[in-house]
């Protein structure tokens, strides 16, 4: 359960501040301008699918890549050692990362969807948030177990394959079975495209997020405790 209290609000505020300080927002301003130019440049009939792919593969999936950078930075500056001995709970840390990164995802996704002429913004926002949560949680889990950027890049390749490939095949209708519409990445892609997802698919996606959340919290706690050893 997420306890929304003053500490969590502070944590979220500081995470947004760190992301601004470390240039995340500037980077996404530049990327959004670039993607917007791409969407303006392509034929109208391609816009919807191109925008969906852009939203799914970048703003929605950014947590997967950025969590590696964030956690490695915190490890290198030994901040994680300190987290182990503060009252902050692992679930507060995880939720703060998920919400702060999904905030960027939602803003960028809304801009790109508007440029592409989407009208179903609400499902797009839900789909983007769910995808962002899945990828950020996967990013956290992997990042807690690695010690270099190279290790992180290698470790995220399988996640990229199982996350992106089915969703991209799904968008082009390469596969079309009902099972495809239950796959969480495809559920998110459906919603990003403005489609109503299968209820069972949505349920599975939420269940996956709940499972990833548990694993992420345990991984963060373990990382803090392992990092938190005092060398005397």
């Amino acid at each position: 359960m997420l306890t929304i209290d003053k500490r969590f609000i502070n944590l979220l505020r500081w995470d947004l501040r760190f992301q601004a300080r470390y240039g995340f927002y500037l980077l996404y301003v530049l990327l959004t301008v670039f993607y917007t130019l791409v969407l303006f440049a392509i034929p109208g009939s391609w816009k919807e699918k191109t925008a969906a792919m852009l939203i799914f593969s970048d703003p929605a999936a950014m947590g997967l890549f950025f969590m590696g950078a964030i956690v490695l930075l915190e490890k290198s500056q030994k901040v994680t050692s300190y987290f182990a001995i503060t009252p902050m709970k692992a679930r507060e840390y995880v939720w703060s990362k998920v919400l702060s990164l999904s905030a960027i995802s939602l803003v960028v996704a809304t801009i790109l969807a508007t440029v592409a002429g989407y009208t179903a913004i609400f499902p797009l926002l839900v789909g983007t948030f769910l995808a962002s949560a899945i990828f950020t949680l996967c990013g956290i889990i992997v990042a807690t177990k690695i010690s270099s950027l190279n290790q992180f890049i290698l470790a995220t390749v399988p996640i990229e394959i199982i996350g992106f490939v089915p969703a991209i095949l799904h968008i082009f209708g390469v596969t079309g079975s009902i099972a495809d519409r239950l796959y969480p990445a495809n559920v998110c892609m459906d919603m990003i495209m403005g489609d109503r997802p299968f209820a069972a698919g949505l349920l599975l996606t939420v269940a996956l997020i709940a499972l990833l959340l548990q694993v992420a919290c345990r991984s963060v706690l373990k990382m803090w405790q392992e990092q938190g050893g005092v060398k005397l």
């Binding site: 502070n10 001995i85 902050m88 060398k231």
Partner: protein, 281 residues
């Protein structure tokens, strides 16, 4: 404040900490002394609730360490030997961030920065700080939430004599404010100066526990060493309490032939070596 009874812990089948018992009273500075690998780090981890798989009992406040909740840390401040700061943030931002993680009272960040002479560097990025500045900042980071119990790990390491003095005065000031302080150091002079009691730990076992003064006095009397010229410079020494019975010394005094004379007490390091057979430095 801390009660440890028959504490046993192992990373493998062989016990690493064995039957450790000690008590740290509220308001005292308790020194933990031992060579690397002695088990100090492990005991500290246990007391900080990070190693729950121990046997025996380790109670901090009134909480058994293996059963603590996250509020356990509201009243604990830890000054690690290494910097634990966001390097791109300023000193003030780091202190604001870490204090925001605690629900309880917060101390004035400006006053803390001033106390360690960092008031003019408050808005500078930590990445631009020297090692000594980072040490001082690390120390006050442990104080921002005004904890009752402080764990200090080599707090004067890397500091010049002036800042080392400043840091020691601040530690004593925190004791005067009623804090209980568990200090881990290799610096015997610091331990002698700061600690009410010290524990010698080697191989996961406690070898001695007493005030530095009692340890020094119980294990070795002060010595008097004197020199004179007789076919070159000669020297001899005797216990301070037996000076009057030292014939040679008495003769040299009577003949005004003493070149030098001085007394010296054994240091805490001497006592540590004598008791444990190991050296700290």
């Amino acid at each position: 404040m801390i009660q440890v009874n028959n504490l046993t812990f192992s990373y493998s089948k062989k016990p690493f900490i064995e039957g450790l018992s000690f008590e740290v009273k509220a308001g005292e500075i308790f020194g933990f002394l031992g060579p690397s690998g002695a088990g100090k780090s492990t005991v500290q981890k246990i007391l900080l609730g990070m190693l729950p798989n121990y046997e025996g009992s380790a109670v901090v406040g009134s909480v058994e360490c293996k059963k603590h909740g996250s509020n356990f840390y509201q009243n604990i401040g830890v000054d690690f030997e290494y910097s634990t700061m966001y390097e791109k943030l300023s000193a003030r931002e780091n202190l604001e961030f870490f204090s925001s993680l605690y629900r309880l009272r917060h101390r004035s960040i400006d006053e803390l920065l001033m106390a360690v002479g960092l008031e003019n560097d408050a808005d500078k990025r930590v990445a631009d700080f020297s090692k000594g500045m980072k040490s001082r900042l690390n120390f006050i980071k442990a104080l921002v939430h005004d904890p009752k119990l402080l764990f200090l790990d080599e707090p004067t390491s890397g500091l010049d004599p002036t800042n080392s003095r400043l840091m020691k005065d601040m530690i004593l000031e925190e004791k005067r404010r009623g804090k209980t302080i568990l200090l881990t150091t290799h610096n015997m002079q610091d331990a002698t100066e700061l600690c009410d009691r010290v524990a010698f730990i080697v191989g996961g076992k406690l070898f001695a526990l007493d005030s530095p003064h009692n340890l020094i006095m119980s294990k070795g009397a002060a010595k008097v060493t004197y020199t004179w010229i007789e076919n070159g410079e000669q020297s001899a020494s005797c216990d301070l309490t037996e000076m009057a019975g030292d014939k040679k010394l008495r003769n040299l005094i009577a003949e005004n032939r003493l070149q030098s004379i001085h007394s010296s007490e054994p240091t805490l390091n001497d006592i540590f070596m004598e008791i444990t057979g190991k050296t700290l430095v």
